[in-house]
């Protein structure tokens, strides 16, 4: 298969949800995928905030990360929709626009890097959901879960569609198919494809509005009777995990639905017991239930 | 001298309208009738230049309105190729230009004519200063 990936950590995962990082490392190792560190990598940088200020700088900072992976000689792997959004878009833009590449490199070379944009940027959900796939994953599983869950795609994994072309953003199946292979019963719920309300720098600057959006999302999830929220992005993770607490305090709701990242759930099914639920804000006591393997 | 190949439809119609409206333009511009802008090929352009024209223009109908569907577009492509060739050979690409006009509006072709004169003058003065 593939020689390995340059593992891009980003910010939120290593600095807020390190369990996602350890789970991802565990999963990749079990899959026999070589992990190369990306020394000196920085913030992706976040598409909402930094792109808003200065698009050229945003591109240079992103290109720097891409250049680090290129020097490693392996495709870049992200576990976060935000990182995926930024790095995929910039890589795509640089790949198809020679003029832009020249301009970015001018600035980048001052920082000691050079980007060719001839590589790939991938998301862990692509690796698990497509490359390995629902049937391919079976041979690596030690157990399956018993879990009714609401799957949250987030935005930048599938959109903009004309760039990403991963699955139909209006009715995707890739995560449902994958999680069902792990034993999950995926629920259809109101607002299944809605945003979590965190992106675009809204969470940072307009927390209240961001919470209102989350409220709408959470109501749909709660109504479905989901036992957990499954996501593929540490930023959505942060929004759901920390946000439920804020909602409960502010709006008197009573949400206690644990959030599990695709890497965490996969690691659990591969036999890892410590997926770090206890470090999370909501439902730290949550234990995944095992279902008899079929 | 400027040779202006004008198609039988919109371009000549426009030149006639300009006349009827007594609009004035550069007397150096000499119109040659062709059925369609598509009729003009590299041979016509080169021959006009070889015989002393300072520049050549081809005027057809508006794009999308060619009476033979797309003769004007075909010639536009030819003109672009000629311009590239002139440039490579060290000549001024403005020696040949493609224009469109509308039969009912004399000022469309007069506008084209004015542009031709200006471009030709610019070209000639460049030549002089080069010498």
């Amino acid at each position: 298969m593939n020689t390995g990936y340059s593992f891009f950590l980003g910010c939120i995962m290593p600095n807020r949800y390190p369990a996602i990082e350890s789970a991802t490392r565990f999963v990749l190792e079990r899959l026999g995928i070589n992990v190369q560190e990306m020394e000196r990598a920085g913030c992706c940088p976040a598409p909402g905030v930094f792109r808003s200020f200065n698009k050229p700088d945003w591109m240079v900072a992103a290109a720097r990360n891409i250049a680090i992976a290129e020097a490693n000689g392996s495709p870049l792997l992200t576990v976060c929709n935000g990182c995926f959004g930024t790095l995929f878009d910039v890589n795509h833009a640089l790949k198809h626009d020679e003029e832009l590449r020249k301009k970015v490199n001018e600035k980048l070379e001052k920082l000691g890097y050079h980007v060719k944009a001839d590589g790939e940027v991938r998301h862990i959900a692509q690796v698990l959901g497509f490359d390995i796939g629902p049937s391919g994953i079976q041979q690596y599983l030690k157990r399956k879960v018993k879990l009714k869950a609401a799957i949250h795609y987030g935005c930048h994994f599938l959109r903009p569609f004309h760039l990403k072309q991963i699955d139909d953003p209006e009715d995707p199946r890739i995560l449902e198919d994958y999680f069902e292979a792990l034993g999950v019963e995926s629920l259809n719920y109101r607002g299944r494809l809605l945003c979590c309300g965190a992106g675009g720098g809204v969470k940072g600057a307009h927390a209240e509005e961001s919470m209102k959006m989350l409220l709408e999302k959470m109501e749909g999830i709660a109504e479905s009777g989901a036992e957990a929220i499954l996501d593929i992005c540490p930023f959505c993770h942060l929004q759901f995990d920390g946000g439920q607490k804020i909602l409960n305090e502010k709006y008197g709701t009573d949400f206690h639905i644990p959030v599990i990242h695709i890497s965490q759930l996969t690691a659990f099914c591969m036999g890892e017991n410590e997926i770090g639920m206890k470090y999370q804000v909501i439902a730290p006591e949550f234990r995944l239930e095992v279902r008899n393997p079929d | 001298m400027i040779i202006a190949f004008a198609c039988e439809n919109c371009a000549q119609g426009s030149a006639n309208t300009a006349g009827v409206l007594r609009m004035k333009y550069d007397h150096r511009i000499k119109i040659v009738r062709v059925p369609c802008a598509g009729r003009v090929g590299p041979r016509q352009i080169i021959e006009a230049l070889n015989n002393g024209a300072d520049s050549v223009a081809i005027i057809g109908c508006c794009f999308g309105a060619c009476h033979y569907n797309d003769g004007n577009l075909i010639t536009l492509r030819r003109v672009k190729a000629m311009k590239r060739m002139f440039e490579e050979l060290g000549f001024d690409p403005d020696m040949v230009n493609m224009y469109t006009a509308r039969a009912a509006e004399g000022d469309t072709i007069v506008g084209d004519f004015e542009d031709m004169s200006a471009k030709t003058d610019a070209m000639l003065s460049k030549e002089v200063s080069n010498e």
């Binding site: - | 004035k24 000499k30 119109i31 090929g41 021959e47 015989n51 003769g71």
Partner: protein, 646 residues
């Protein structure tokens, strides 16, 4: 050489006498004079007299534009026994005297024009006109209302028609409609007389289950091959329906858009013409029951595909449209049973279908309490490549919303639209009437329709752009006003006919204003929606125009063709066929030796081929390379020409 004063028009701006004198000195000029009004009776007489006296074989008049008086002088020389094309017109009025400020410059410019005209005249060649016999017969392809109208109009002029329809019955989309705006008439009632008239007309031959498989020849004389699929039922079928009764196979009827059922041996709908039944080989299990039960032994499984050739003078293309398939706009979830298109609704409203004409929610047969109609589905949409407005869907949405309101007065009916397009007499009035029926109009294009996870309910997300507020509409049913697109298979037929197509897929008209019923190819006419979406009113008018354009070619019995066409010099031709790639009418064929060969009938004398030919092998008469070259030299070097030959 005759130089005209046009009163003061020319003579007031330049020195006419000097020009005439200059002309006299030019090589080949026998006689030169000036005259006050060349187009006057005396002027023309002067010309004729000069031709006679000086035995002139070519004439040049320097006066006004070709358009204005070339025909006058050409006629005059023709009367003197010359070919009219031996007359050359030089325009020193519109192109010189009227547009030049300075007397001297104008005089000089006129001289150059005259010199060029004289040089050109020396090379002019006579152009013959050819009389071509035409076949007085027309093929009409497609038997929707457009094809029927065109066929009928032609047959009534005494021109025999072959009507080719790919389906088992004729009538096209109009037969599927429930009512037609703006009068809400029953379409079958309005169409039937035409359908029956065509079916029974002695001059119309109808070929159903047939498609054009080959086209050769050109205007006046096409040879068209038509392939007919077997019907497996002979024409002696009495339409008694017994076969259908016993046939064990049943499945959704295409004609009913799935809202009705049919057997494997069937007629799409009761009034279908021809009334002969059809056996659908794909679904038939070959049990043979129909064969046994048929009282007249019409069923015949051994029938084979047939090919026939027709010789026709003109072809009318009337292959209509298709409904846009909304599955592409995934945000609308068209695969959901309660989201249907307008054409499906038209069928649902028909009394012969599964719901017996009642409006019921397909998933469970409930009477809908809230229906949302969405406009511009697949039209006005750059994302799906259809930037155009269909122009019909607003009207049929108003129609169907009104019908739903009539059937179900307590049901909420919404129309979500970007703009309501209802131009023309009776149409805005129709809109107003719909408003008065209590339909709720929301100006905004819905972003998505979400099926409810728990109930048989749909949520339509839309902005009410008038209030600027996002709205959610709860709906039992959603009806998509899917636009009209070019029929999918049209590319192939268009290729056979050698037609240009617009980028949207419809057949490209010759000229949007002056020839919307002509195609890019002479002798091939366009009728109805194949040239672009339109309603029945405009379809019928367009079809009539196509019929009359087809008749124009054929009624005289011959075509007159001026042969100022392209001509190939085989010695120069290197067989590259660059000429043929630029020739729009497709007039350039290849002869047996591989040389380019011009079909005079199809050639429109544009000369684009001549511009493309690398060797100058292909030329058009009177605009040859050599002729243009002489003209250019005349214009540029007129002063050096005087006396050159003497």
């Amino acid at each position: 050489m005759f130089v005209c004063h046009c009163g003061e028009n020319i003579a007031g701006k330049l020195d006419v006498e000097e020009v005439a004198e200059f002309a006299a000195g030019l090589p080949n000029v026998e006689f030169s004079t000036d005259n006050l009004f060349m187009c006057s009776k005396q002027g023309v007489e002067l010309l004729k007299e000069a031709v006679r006296r000086h035995k002139l074989n070519r004439t040049v008049v320097a006066s006004c534009s070709v358009e204005q008086h070339w025909p006058t002088f050409a006629r005059a020389v023709e009367e003197m026994g010359l070919n009219p094309h031996m007359h050359e017109q030089v325009n020193i009025r519109e192109w010189v005297s009227w547009v030049t400020n300075d007397w001297d410059n104008a005089t000089e410019k006129a001289k150059s024009a005259v010199a060029a005209g004289v040089k050109m005249a020396a090379l002019k060649e006579p152009i013959e006109t050819q009389k071509l016999d035409v076949v007085k017969k027309v093929m009409v392809i497609g038997a929707g209302v457009a094809g029927l109208r065109a066929a009928m109009d032609l047959a009534e002029l005494g021109i025999p028609v072959v009507l080719v329809e790919k389906e088992p019955s004729i009538g096209g989309h109009m037969t599927m409609l429930n009512k037609t705006f703006p009068t809400d008439e029953c379409p079958m009632c309005t169409l039937s007389p035409l359908l029956n008239g065509v079916a029974n007309h002695p001059d119309i031959e109808i070929l159903t289950l047939s498609e054009v498989s080959k086209v050769e020849g050109s205007v006046g004389n096409f040879v068209v091959e038509v392939t007919t699929k077997p019907r497996y039922v002979h024409d002696n079928c009495t339409s008694c329906g017994r076969c259908s009764e016993v046939c064990p196979v049943e499945f959704p009827n295409e004609w009913d858009m799935g809202f009705g059922m049919r057997k494997a041996i069937y007629k799409p709908y009761p009034q279908a013409i021809p009334s002969t039944f059809t056996r659908d080989k794909k679904h038939c299990i070959e049990c043979g029951l129909c064969e046994i039960v048929c009282p007249v032994q019409a069923v015949d499984f051994s029938m084979k595909k047939e090919k026939r050739e027709f010789n026709v003078g003109a072809i009318v293309v009337a292959t209509g449209y298709e409904q846009y398939d909304p599955v592409e706009i995934t945000a609308y979830h068209y695969d959901h049973p309660n989201i249907i298109t307008q054409l499906e609704l038209e069928r649902m409203l028909a009394p012969t279908t599964l719901t017996k004409g009642k409006i019921l929610r397909p998933s469970d047969g409930k009477v809908p309490e809230s229906v949302v109609i969405i406009q511009c589905v697949g039209s006005r949409n750059d994302q799906v490549g259809n930037a155009y407005c269909t122009g019909v869907c607003c009207m049929y949405a108003l129609k169907n919303a009104g019908i739903i309101k009539e059937h179900l007065p307590n049901t909420d009916v919404y129309i979500c639209y970007i703009d309501i397009r209802a131009p023309g007499l009776y149409y805005e009035e129709y809109y107003k009437k719909a408003q008065e029926k209590g339909i709720i109009f929301i100006r905004g294009r819905p972003s998505n329709i979400e099926p409810d996870p728990y109930e048989e309910k749909l949520t339509v997300f839309v902005e009410d752009t008038f209030t600027g507020e996002p709205v959610e509409i709860e709906a039992d049913m959603v009806i998509l006003s899917a636009g009209m697109i070019a029929p999918k298979g049209f590319g192939k037929l268009g290729g056979k006919l050698g037609l240009l197509r617009a980028k949207e897929g419809f057949a490209k008209e010759y000229h949007i204003k002056m020839g919307p019923m002509r195609s890019s190819r002479e002798g091939v006419l366009l009728a109805g929606t194949i040239q672009g979406p339109r309603d029945i009113t405009k379809t019928v008018a367009h079809a009539g125009a196509a019929a009359s354009a087809a008749a124009q070619i054929l009624v005289k019995g011959f075509l007159e063709k001026r042969l100022d066409t392209a001509i190939v010099d085989k010695d120069l031709c290197i067989k590259c066929l660059a000429c043929s790639t630029v020739c729009n009418p497709g007039a350039i064929d290849v002869d047996v030796d591989g040389y380019a060969f011009v079909n005079d009938t199809a050639c429109k004398s544009c000369g684009t081929c001549a511009g493309a030919c690398p060797t100058g092998a292909i030329q058009i008469r009177n605009f040859r390379d050599a002729q243009l070259k002489e003209e250019v030299i005349g214009l540029l070097e007129y002063n050096r020409l005087v006396g050159a030959a003497q």
